[in-house]
Amino acid sequence: MKLRISAYGIARDIMNGSSTDMDLTEVKSTGDLKNYLIDTYPAFKDLLSFSLAVHEEYREDDYLLNDGDEVVIIPPVSGG
């Protein structure tokens, strides 16, 4: 499955870039993608939390991804 991964804040620093295309055969859900990201970039484990958004909404771990989805990594927010 082809995905575009975008990252903000500290997630961008961890991935060393704001956007990257990935082709991941084992990934079906946002939960799978989270596991893949933690394996690939262990620094994600040290965050207070990190969430994934698809179509501008937070998604639970069981959200099924579609080929071509843009997934945005949301590290702990700190607006205001």
Binding site: S6, Y8, G9, I10, L47, A53, P75, V77, G80
Partner: protein, 138 residues
């Protein structure tokens, strides 16, 4: 009326207030979040804010709709700044008008509490000797 903005330009309390004042409003409450000069005793030089803008607008709009429902808000204005901010600059202004004042206080407090939990905006504190993404780590 609901007005949600993310702006790189300085925010203005008067503009935000004028958006919510209404002949039917018994109370107008504004929360203004500004940049503090220190964090845990460490001197902050400046802050850098960034937003995932389309989703941040969407999440702030959800907050505004919820407030309109729950507290019968007449008008809700939420303006958030991005970019580089210096000490005392305004990061966020939330203005709410309601028929009765108690509701405006509750709604405004809900708005800023929820914004800080759900809206995809991030700030990096820049110190003399380094920088840190706020709240990123436990």
């Amino acid at each position: 009326m609901i007005d949600i903005q993310i702006k790189a330009d300085p925010l203005d309390v008067e503009i935000s207030y004028r958006q919510v004042v209404d002949a039917a409003a018994g109370g107008n409450v504004q929360f203004i979040g500004t940049v503090r000069d220190q964090t845990k005793g460490k001197k902050v030089m400046r802050l850098e804010f960034e937003a995932y803008e389309p989703m941040a607008i969407k999440e702030m709009t959800k907050i505004a709709h919820y407030i309109t429902e729950k507290w019968s808000a007449i008008h809700v204005s939420i303006h958030h700044r991005v970019g580089t901010l210096k000490i005392e600059d305004i990061a966020v202004i939330i203005s709410i008008s309601t028929p009765h004042r108690q509701a405006a206080f509750e709604a405004c407090q809900y708005a800023i509490d929820t914004l800080k939990e759900t809206v995809p905006i991030w700030k990096k504190e820049v110190f003399e000797d380094g920088e840190v993404w706020v709240a990123a780590h436990p």
